[in-house]
Amino acid sequence: MIKPLATGLAVTFENLFKKPFTVQYPEERLEMFPRFRGLHILARHEDGLERCVGCELCAVACPADAIFVKAAENDADAPRSHGERYAERYEINMLRCIFCGMCEEACPEDAIFLEKDYELSDYRREAFIYTKDELLVGPEKAGYLPQR
């Protein structure tokens, strides 16, 4: 009877002297693994144009039906993307999203990626519908493609 007790307490004492696993979030943050799937980004070409052409393959691939895309025709003088078509509206409902990454896999233009950001919280449900403005990377990240 003593022996099992001693074994159990040994584990306890052993851990008393180990470095804790706990991270002091939000002061401290973990480095995410390379293939972690967090918040989506919409990438840009090197020339700053959007990679997304609004083909809706992500929307049809999405098992949670979380993506809404409405395409429109580019203004030839001020195009938003390469080619004739761009996504006029691009919305992801993060409450529905299951972060499976199927959209990324379906994308023929390498336009959508699931990135490392996992801090998705808000006070209103509507705020979880991420619009294109929130998803599209800034012009300073033109040409950025995550390494996989």
Binding site: V53, C55, E56, A71
Partner: protein
């Protein structure tokens, strides 16, 4: 199917098919899939794309003809050395076909590789993506890589007019669009430019297409080479909920597949394997849906309590309507209430509309608001065979000889026109078109004769044709009751000598005789007429004359009818069937007959008036004269549809109560005391009857616009407020009552109407007995040509149809502005140039329009399409006698009008 069949073995499955069957069709029967691009069920085989290649063989035979047996005892097959195209190869007895043999698969992969050599990989931006046959077949049969390293040949994309977007890079040159445009539309607007690898489909000199803008080239394109500009990048096929319903634009009753995303209709397409029309749609059907979501739609009832119309609650409007109707009926008698319109409603709504009227005790109910003279409610049915099994559109296309009387089918029944053109190209159909204008079907490129009828000569021409037909010998196949009228008719027709007819109609006697001979002697024949006769001041006489001609030529027989009425609206036939006429109960029953009335009285719980009411033109006069004090107008812009606008304005101004059920605040609705907001075709269920008397279900593609009610709900609410115990829970409830009470509709139900509804025919004897009767021409003799001025020709046009098309931006654009069309000579004689403003003066008023040249308009006439928003043809006055004459002169102001 003929008894003779041939045996074919496809992939080891033996089937028997009729000789002459194409291998692709035989394979379908054997449930073997052979891919196709260029082959199309409505087009003759071409063999352009080669994707359907299969291996074909025949049993090897000895010199004495006996099959050679192989080592295992089965017949040896002599395979053709090269693969064959299944879409052009017809079956032969004993033929063996392999679609999955290594040779066939290799050949197909090779063809697919060739097709993809120059095809861009722009599926993500291509509108066809997701429903592209090339995409599907590339997945199914192609390689997963390309050996094509070289640059692909490229073309510039083009907008061919406002509806067709062409991306020639994607084209696989199957020629479907070119062939469809040529053989079915008769437009010849597209052609292949250049040759070889540089072949490109385009228009003459790459100009915008000046065609019917039907978009059928887009529909038949198996790839994304031709896409619809109005739908460009709007959605993906998987976004759309598809609803198959019936097109509201004419009486042909085409099935249309609405693609809905959210609460908006994004496109309309044909249905491929359903409906009378299959893939066909006209410009109106394909691009004319946007009125459904127009911002000006009425979203609540309007009431005129003080001076102006103001929004009101539905219950309030219903209570007001009921109390006012009750009040007027009590003070002036129910005969002071009239119900008008309803040609655009479903059968259920039409039935309730007249039930409401007759429950109130009035028989003044008429859907035919455009009539210029009284017409018996069963006149049209009688002229089309009195309920005998009717001519179908399919039969129309396979007829040998078709007489088109007085109507431009391009505007009135575009699908009927396409059926005739296809018949011309594929079945050797011959046309005789009697029309004052050289309308599309009368153009020389179609095999047929144009009887250039002088306006006002309609009765004379029909009598002359009847006389010429009678001269060819005794008519056959008439029931005894009809034949009894022959002697009197023969005597009356004797007066129509060829000289007299030529003087009145301007048509050579030889042409009339030849037309009568063709109609009489061709085994499969048909007569098509439309509103031009029905809305003629001599309509009753003309319809009798059509019937005479039909009996004498065999277009009507004791068993069948080969006469078709192509009415103006989707519900025209239904309105007649449902008793929206003053002298007939639903099912053409005579209200004077107590036995016919009894079932309705029992069901409705009221005593029905036995005397006929007034027809629409009579109601117009009575209302203008103050004898009709309350009007209910359903789905009809009466100020435009009534033959005389001044009278209609007077009637609306003088009436104590005007109720209008409408989608929009039309001119008529503005003059109303109560306006009920109705719902469009896409928002309600019901049954509509097309010109071949086919009952078809419409489906609800959208929820009704908030605030709008179906006419069924409105009618029921008012009826309940009036104390009637109506308790229909839905349109199907109403239909069950119809199917119980209305002869011809008995035994039908919503469940039996999919995918293609039945065509109703009276069981046993005809619903209305036919007759042969002499027809006198009120205007016959030299008088017909007397008088000065120009004949006013009005009529429907393709891109403008009425208050709905005014709310469709694309149709407005295609229709251009309203114009008055003159022949070049006539315009010169008037001293006018194209674009000048011209004043047309009729007996009651005048119109100012820009003049335009149209060589199809005969001398001495002016053509003014009636359906343009800025044209109110009925301001000129009601046609009387042989028609309407107007004076044309240059407008005083030099500014262009209306353009």
């Amino acid at each position: 199917m003929s008894a003779k069949t041939v045996k074919v073995t496809i992939n080891g499955r033996a089937i028997a098919v009729p000789p002459g069957t194409l291998l692709t069709d035989a394979a379908r029967a054997a449930e073997v899939h052979i891919p196709v691009f260029c082959s199309h069920p409505r087009l003759p085989p071409l063999g352009a794309c080669r994707i359907c290649v299969v291996e074909v063989g025949m049993p090897r035979r000895d010199r004495d003809g006996s099959p050679v047996l192989g080592a295992d005892g089965s017949p040896e097959i002599a395979w053709m050395p090269k693969p064959q195209t299944a879409c052009t190869t017809t079956v032969a007895d004993g033929m063996v076909v392999a679609t999955e043999s290594p040779g066939a698969v290799r050949a197909r992969k090779g063809v697919m590789e060739f097709l993809l050599v120059n095809h861009p990989l722009d599926c993500p931006v291509c509108d066809e993506g997701g429903e592209c046959q090339l995409q599907d077949l590339a997945f199914a049969f192609g390689h997963d890589f390309s050996r094509m390293d070289e640059a692909k040949r490229t073309f510039v994309s083009e907008d061919l007019g406002p509806v067709v977007k062409k991306e020639a890079n994607r084209c696989i040159v199957c020629m479907r669009c070119v062939r469809y445009c040529d053989e079915i539309m008769g437009e010849d607007a597209l052609t292949a430019h250049q040759r070889g690898v540089r072949t490109e489909i385009s228009s003459f000199d790459r100009q915008p297409l000046e065609c019917e803008q039907c978009g059928n080239c887009i529909e038949v394109c198996p790839v994304g080479a031709l896409t619809a500009l109005p739908y460009r990048f709007k959605a993906r096929p998987w976004d759309l909920r598809q609803h198959v319903t019936i097109c509201p634009w004419c009486s042909n009753g085409c099935s249309v597949r609405l693609g809905v995303r959210g609460t908006e209709i994004l496109r309309a397409r044909g249905t491929e394997h359903r409906g009378v029309n299959q893939e066909y749609l006209c410009a109106r059907g394909r691009f004319g849906y946007s009125f459904v979501s127009a911002a000006e739609r009425l979203t609540g009832p309007l009431l005129r309590l003080g001076g102006a119309l103001a929004p009101a609650g539905f219950d309030e409007a219903v209570a007001f309507t009921a109390s006012r109707l009750r009040e007027i009926a009590a003070r002036h008698g129910p005969g002071s209430i009239a119900f008008l319109g309803g040609e655009k409603l479903t059968v259920e709504e039409q039935y309730l509309f007249q039930k409401l009227a007759r429950t109130l005790g009035t028989s003044h109910v008429d859907a035919r608001t455009r009539l210029t003279a009284p017409l018996p409610g069963d006149a049209i049915l009688k002229a089309t065979g009195g309920g005998r099994p009717a001519l179908s559109l399919e039969e129309l296309g396979s007829a040998g000889e078709v007489l088109v009387l007085g109507d431009d089918l391009q505007g009135e029944g575009p699908f009927a026109q396409a059926v005739l053109i296809r018949g011309q190209h594929q079945n050797g159909l011959h046309l005789t078109v009697a029309h004052p204008r050289r309308v599309k079907l009368a153009r020389p490129k179609f095999r047929g004769e144009w009887l250039a009828l002088r306006p006002g000569g309609e009765v004379a021409l029909l009598n002359a044709l009847a006389r010429a037909a009678l001269d060819l010998g005794e008519p056959q196949g008439m029931p005894p009751g009809v034949a009894a009228g022959l002697p009197a008719l023969r005597q009356a027709l004797a007066a129509w000598t060829p000289e007299k007819v030529e003087r009145v109609t301007g048509i050579e006697p030889a042409a009339v005789a030849a037309a009568a001979r063709r109609l009489r002697e061709t085994p499969r024949k048909a007569i098509v007429f439309g509103r031009a006769l029905v809305e003629h001041p001599q309509a009753a006489a003309l319809l009798q004359a059509v019937e005479n001609l039909a009996w004498l030529t065999g277009a009507l027989t004791a068993e069948r009818s080969f006469v078709m009425y192509v009415g103006p609206h989707s519900g025209t036939q239904g309105a007649l069937d449902m008793g929206l006429v003053p002298d007939r109960l639903p099912g053409y029953l005579d209200p004077a007959d107590a036995a016919a009335r009894a079932p309705f009285e029992k069901q409705w719980g009221v005593a029905l008036p036995s005397a006929p009411g007034m027809t629409a033109p009579e109601i117009l006069k009575a209302a203008a004269g103050g004898r009709v004090r309350a009007l209910w107008i359903a789905g009809d812009n009466w100020l435009r549809s009534a033959p005389d606008r001044a009278l209609a304005e007077q009637a609306l101004a003088g009436a104590e109560l005007v109720i209008v059920s409408e989608l929009f605040l039309t001119e008529t609705a503005r003059a109303a005391h109560v306006v009920f907001p109705a719902v469009s075709f896409a928002e309600k269920e019901g049954v509509v009857v097309n010109c071949e008397r086919r009952l078809q279900r419409t489906a609800r593609a959208l929820s009704p616009l908030r605030g709008a009610r179906t006419d069924r709900e409105t009618f029921q609410a008012v009826a309940r407020a009036l104390g009637a115990g109506w308790s229909y829970r839905g349109a199907e409830d109403v239909y069950r009552e119809i199917a119980r009470l209305v002869p011809g509709y008995r035994g039908t139900g919503w469940g039996t109407m999919l995918p293609l509804g039945p065509r109703w025919a009276s069981d046993g004897a005809a619903a209305v007995a036919g007759s042969l009767a002499p027809v006198a021409d009120a205007q016959a003799g030299p008088g017909v040509l007397a008088g000065d001025g120009l004949w006013l020709l009005s009529g429907g046009v393709l891109f403008q149809q009425g208050s709905l098309s005014h709310r469709v931006e694309l149709l407005q654009k295609l229709a251009k502005g309203a114009r008055a069309f003159f022949g070049a000579g006539e315009l010169q004689r008037l001293g006018l140039a194209e674009g000048d403003a011209v004043v047309l003066e009729g007996p009651a008023g005048s119109l100012t329009l820009p003049a335009a040249v149209d060589d199809s308009v005969p001398p001495g006439a002016v053509f003014v399409p009636y359906a343009y928003p800025e044209v109110q043809v009925n301001r000129l006055g009601a046609p009387a006698g042989a028609g309407l004459r107007v004076k044309a002169r240059r407008a005083e102001v030099t500014a262009r009008v209306g353009a």
